[in-house]
Symmetry: C2
Subunit: 551 residues, 2 copies
């Protein structure tokens, strides 16, 4: 059993060392003096770091976003959410052993309190990695001129570094390391800049785990709780909710995702008795590149949804793995491409504001992750929310995940903070945007070439990994005798026979007992080559044609 014992908080976070440490302070070229996004904020952050001095954060040092944030003067505090929280989460108490750690601050104190191993026994003297230098991100460029970054066991002690293996590989806090909390707090400022004062971040083991924790925090089957989500929603999320004894209800969607008016109607006319559940007090939504529909809520749409959430006092779980997979506008085949963002500032400005960036109440828990933009295998993400919500999240994580892997944290820290810095990371994300734009366009070209457009329709996705293919069931020659589910099965089987796997719309239906609102298939452009996507869509088109009795 891993221990959370006093000396696991033996480190201290202080600015006691006057020497500044800002490996990335060179090479930042702000292009604009605006105060809301991009390089100007990066410059502000670098200046703040320079003033603060070297970050000193030892083994399992406690940290929070307030240590690293800019000024929040003039911003209101978030609301309290006791009424929305579950009995389970309200009953959590801080870890006794971690509480005892406050005594470790006493000078000269020797701790026999904590059961954490001596770093001396760790069998890793050094870890090195070869990574790309911004903005030369391709595999080829990495091989040719990538940088080798090394992480020693005692770099903090011996080389005045900020983070090393002796810290990363020991026990840590459930928030994750101070080093990564700093980077992610700053990144959140750059990208989201929440409009209330007491926001915090906490690292997670990825958004799958974060969602499970969030659901246990907000949902109580003894209260007959329920969750509202898109009509078609991420199947794994649905499978997370059901065993908790919580009901899920789908809200209608269009090409921009959730329809605010429909959501308002559902909530306004809620009848707990006929629904068999309390009116939803939680909305689970994927605003950008929704899974499975690929829909992206525009800014006006998000504002409208947020207003409905306020009206009905609904708390929003914003799941945003695809946020940085917002792509260039689709101009159509053979048309001139929209030029890529000219700078990271342009890039950040081009992104649709997040729910948390318009969250005046603190009613949003944003789940973010590096899985779609760096590596899924890191099992590292973070949540952004109000102090109260993040504190409760942390209490839960203390007896569950204990935060992400130290290997993941130190490797990502060295890449993101010390090698790339905020500017370099945003360049990486811009580069990824262009890659996904090319991938999407290749899939769309294949669809235009191979699909019968009188039967199959789609909207070019603005973000994410998925294209949602709508098949017009009403045109099926056996629509009067075969159910929609039967036709879905027939086309799916025929796809497998023909050598293509796509996901079936019914897998994502929020309310399985309700009639299916249409015939859908989900295709991804994330993984296959352009050539394979072309062939796969040709096969899918053939399966549809066969089912519909077309040559």
């Amino acid at each position: 059993m891993p221990l959370a014992t006093p000396s696991t908080i033996a480190g201290q976070l202080a600015n006691g060392n006057a020497q500044t440490f800002h490996a990335k302070s060179e090479g930042i070229n702000g292009t604009n003096n605006g105060v809301t996004s991009g390089s100007s904020i990066i410059q502000e952050i670098l200046a703040r770091r320079a003033t603060a001095g070297r970050l000193v954060a030892g083994i399992a040092a406690a940290s929070d976003s307030d240590m690293f944030k800019g000024s929040t003067v003039g911003k209101p505090k978030a609301r309290k959410w006791d009424s929305h929280l579950s009995r389970e989460v309200l009953e959590r108490k801080p870890c006794t052993l971690k509480q005892a750690a406050r005594h470790l601050k006493k000078p000269g104190l020797i701790s026999l309190g904590g059961g954490l191993p001596s770093s001396e026994t760790f069998p890793f003297a050094e870890i090195a990695m070869k990574v790309p230098v911004a903005p030369h991100f391709s595999e080829q460029e990495t091989l040719e001129k990538g940088q080798t970054v090394t992480i020693g066991k005692y770099d903090v002690r011996d080389h005045e570094a900020v983070y090393d293996l002796s810290i990363a590989l020991n026990y840590g806090q459930s928030t994750g390391s101070a080093q990564m909390v700093r980077f992610l707090t700053e990144h959140t400022e750059i990208v989201c800049n929440p409009p209330y004062a007491d926001w915090q971040i906490c690292q997670t083991i990825g958004s799958t785990g974060a969602l499970e924790q969030a659901l246990r925090m907000f949902c109580d089957k003894d209260r007959n709780d329920s969750v509202l989500t898109e009509d078609f929603s991420f199947s794994t999320a649905l499978e997370t909710i059901h065993p908790l004894g919580i009901n899920v209800f789908g809200s209608p969607i269009d090409d921009e995702g959730l329809v605010p008016e429909a959501m308002d109607q559902i909530l306004t006319n809620w009848d707990a008795a006929s629904r068999g559940a309390r009116k939803p007090h939680i909305l689970y939504t994927v605003p950008s590149g929704q899974n499975p529909t690929g829909a992206t809520q525009g800014y006006e749409r998000r504002k409208a949804i947020y207003a409905i959430a306020q009206k009905h006092d609904v708390f929003i779980i914003e799941d945003e793995p695809y946020y940085f997979l917002q792509m260039q506008p689709y101009t159509g085949r053979g048309q001139l491409d929209v030029p890529p963002p000219a700078s990271v500032e342009d890039f950040v400005s081009s992104l649709i504001p997040t729910f948390v960036s318009m969250d005046v109440d603190g009613r949003v828990l944003r789940m973010d992750s590096v899985s779609k933009v760096l590596v899924p295998g890191s099992r590292l993400g973070w949540v952004v929310g109000s102090e109260q919500i993040i504190e409760r999240y942390q209490r839960h994580a203390e007896v569950a995940s204990q935060g992400p892997s130290g290997f993941s944290q130190v490797i990502l820290y060295k890449l993101l903070d010390e090698t790339w810095g905020h500017e370099g990371y945003l360049q990486w994300l811009m580069n990824l945007r262009m890659q996904y734009t090319r991938r999407r366009d290749a899939l769309l070209a294949a669809c235009e070439d191979h699909l019968p457009q009188d039967i199959v329709a789609w909207t070019p996705p603005a973000a994410g990994m998925f294209l949602w293919l709508k098949v017009d069931y009403s045109k099926h020659p056996h629509a009067s005798t075969k159910t929609l589910a039967e036709v879905e099965q027939e086309i799916f089987d025929s796809c497998i026979d023909g050598g293509v796997l796509v996901a079936r719309g019914s897998w994502f239906l929020a309310e399985k007992e309700k009639p299916m609102p249409g015939l859908f298939f989900r295709a991804t452009y994330a993984a296959a080559s352009a050539e394979n996507m072309n062939e796969a869509i040709r096969r899918f088109g053939q399966a549809v044609r066969e089912s519909f009795g077309k040559k």
Copy 2:
């Protein structure tokens, strides 16, 4: 939101490649032909690997222990535990998207089904690490003659390797990678060799997370469930149980931990009405080096406890982080040390059998972890249990942790499997045993030197990290006027004033509302230097003396 989509199971596990891959088959010197432990099993495992050929397991390949186990002929199957499981876990269904992945086996199929990123976009070309070569494990030896092990992105494709970054850093199964499942299955065979046929292992994110999952699998507050544990138990475990609405009951302990007769009495005389909870159907126990008491259940004791569990149909959660911190017998100060084990076979034979190794029913879930023996920061452990229990665990992990970090897995795989092999890893553990023996002996010497032995008593721990100091409250001059809790507080405060932190016994009390059975403090020998331990215990002794009015 990380996706668990069809192509995340794009890899296959097959023995199609005739070329064998056994970097560690040299250098293994079995010393004995016995069939039950140590090198002979290692040789059997190596022979099995040679026959199977190179392990081929791609991105998110499914795997289980049956693929890697030796013969289980003649072993019975485990019992089914539906009656013990919670409604929540019984309602879990396999992940839809992972189920769809069975189609990926079809030759020539192109998948547009899965939302997993292309490895091409991962910004890590190579990771290298400097690690000790067995049996030269010290930090100095590692620096001087350690080995540099590299992990490339496409080692499997380009160099016929077994594991690489393109696999480890993408999505995986909730069991963790096949590569590590193989190593851990074999390790479990060497160390535990469960006596039933259908045992399995599943990787975890460490035992804290594994315990939380296990509790949700077995405990149902709607059923008024309760958990039995040691009178003094790991405080974080208690803090994990309480918010679930589950009651905890303590069972009396002695120097060898749980007293079977007392446990039997409690269960035999259980009165649900007066207890306010159903008779416990779960035992949570730390058999080796228990936290906080440091007690280790001997073999006979374990057999007796197992028999009581059978009698009352109790399922056992065996939490064994300190199993390999079983130390040399304590011979007393200035006495000749017991010679270290002569071979890994001797070493394995010297270990007290685990509950799972005597588990004829499959009524044990063993939680293991590398936190205490390699690095806590890996957040990597594993559970051992029956097929039914592990399958349910996996279903839960699919919508929660999704398994441990890929960085942790690939780094540990390269160290444990390819660099050290089973023999080398056991040598590492032997070396650790000797280190902990020296640490324990230093703390015991300090106690002998500085503690008033008419007031403070202790039993030299046989395993783990903790010494449990029993202070004789009855000899306190104000025993008639001050409560035990008050004296505990007084001594603790005086310790802090004097500059030493020890853990208070009351923090670990399983039933907080019951009177404290004595005055205890927990001290660890894991972290501080011998010199600091000496000084710390001197300070502790002074605090006790002051409270007891002794000079």
